[in-house]
Amino acid sequence: MFKFIEVVKPTYPLLFYRTGLALICIGKFAVLYHNYLIFYGQYGLIQWSISKVNAYPYAPHLGDFSIFLGRIFQLSMDDASQLIMKVFFCSSLFLFFGLFTRLSTILCFVLHLAFINTGSGIIYGVEVFTQLALFYALFFPLNTTYSADIALGLSRYKRKSLGAGIAIRLIQFQMCLVYLSSGIEKCLGRQWLNGEAIWRTLMMPIFKTYDFSWMAWYPVVPFLIGIFVLIVEIGYVVFMWKKNIRVWWLAMIIALHLGIGIFMGMWFFATVMIFLSVFAFGDDVLRDILKGRAKEVSWLKQG
């Protein structure tokens, strides 16, 4: 089994992972910036005293960091909390450029976890997968390709490495588990099997970007969309490992998440999911496409 995992792969996907993850972290807070204190403030919609009780005893929480910073710099809790957000923003920026990469990744991981524990009332899939990606980033050799660390002599450039191969395999396995879990959980209810899930989602006032009421008269449409989602998610674990088929499966997964972005407005969630799948299987898919084109060219030359 470990021979399959311990493979040498190019390091350019790690550049994609590092920069993409950093942009996701920056983008998320840029969008929530105006409501930052409402979501994460001491007296926001869910006060610290409540979110702290729900978190694990030693789990990072904005309240603990804010009290510490408040004492050192004589800041109010809201000011200390906003300072933490700025530190997170700077860590994400450092991560983007690959500057003191390991330290900036650790900071992003810990602070993002603190934000999750503090704003536990508002977290959904975006936080889950960003935290998952940050956890894996702790172990990935993210500064071995086009990073400021290389310029400063803190790391060496590697075109290919075992570390990159293991990193890609880890995310491949994780994404297979994610989609298998997601697909099977959906199959446990009737809504995804009879189209009601698609109907309800598109008709909910908050997600209603377009008028889909006509689907009530054509129930076969939401039914087929629901079955498509189930097939793509459950099939992910099998077909993403098959050469020449995975290019289509990756395209379908991207289409599925683009659909979530367009029809539900959940663009951040769509971005995170596409980002993880492209990192996991993008290099393999690219090789399939290039091999396919090379075969075409040699066939044409022979002809």
């Binding site: 470990f2 919609l45 869910i46 997601s182 959980e185 446990l188 899930a197 908050i206």
Partner: protein, 161 residues
């Protein structure tokens, strides 16, 4: 990878597989369950990834109406939801609010919202909190004329002491 890393790799994905397959529900060993939960709460790699599964939850709407001492009409406290991402956050909060249909949990959220309104405006001494549920009818019912209904799901008033 050396043997230690390989072992950690196996343990990591064992945790993920046990959680995803719901096998942890069959493990009646508190220390193991605690370890699995703790690992999940830090890494977020071993958890159920069934979003919008097996059913799609209803949509909710929050109304916060704040009153001053002499005020009988009150004013609506608006939450800045100018874009979809912020609106999704408010909806997610309401989904957490209604999770498990626990009255004590809902009361806790409501007190928190009331306190938020009072902290934002010190003249407010009373907050009427109402949560409405938008119920989407099934396709067949919609075809027969039933439409999305907005029903009062929860209501309470929070008073300043």
């Amino acid at each position: 990878m050396n043997k230690t890393l390989r072992l950690l790799f196996v343990i990591h994905f064992a945790f993920a597989a046990v959680t995803v397959s719901h096998l942890y529900e069959l493990i009646h060993c508190p220390p193991v369950n605690s370890l699995i939960n703790l690992y999940s709460s830090y890494t977020y790699t071993n958890r159920n990834f069934g979003f919008f599964a097996p059913t799609v939850n209803d949509d909710y709407e929050l109304s916060l109406r704040a009153f001053n001492a002499q005020d009988t009409l009150g004013h609506e406290v608006s939450l800045n939801a100018s874009d979809t991402e912020n609106r999704i956050r408010f909806l997610t909060m309401l989904w957490h609010f209604s999770e498990g249909n626990s009255k004590s949990q809902m009361d806790l959220f409501a007190r928190s919202w009331g306190l938020y309104c009072m902290n934002n405006d010190s003249t407010v001494n009373q907050v009427l909190i109402a949560v409405y549920k938008h119920e989407v009818p099934a396709m067949t019912a919609y075809k027969n004329g039933e439409r999305i209904s907005k029903n009062l799901y929860y209501q309470t008033t929070i008073y300043a002491k």
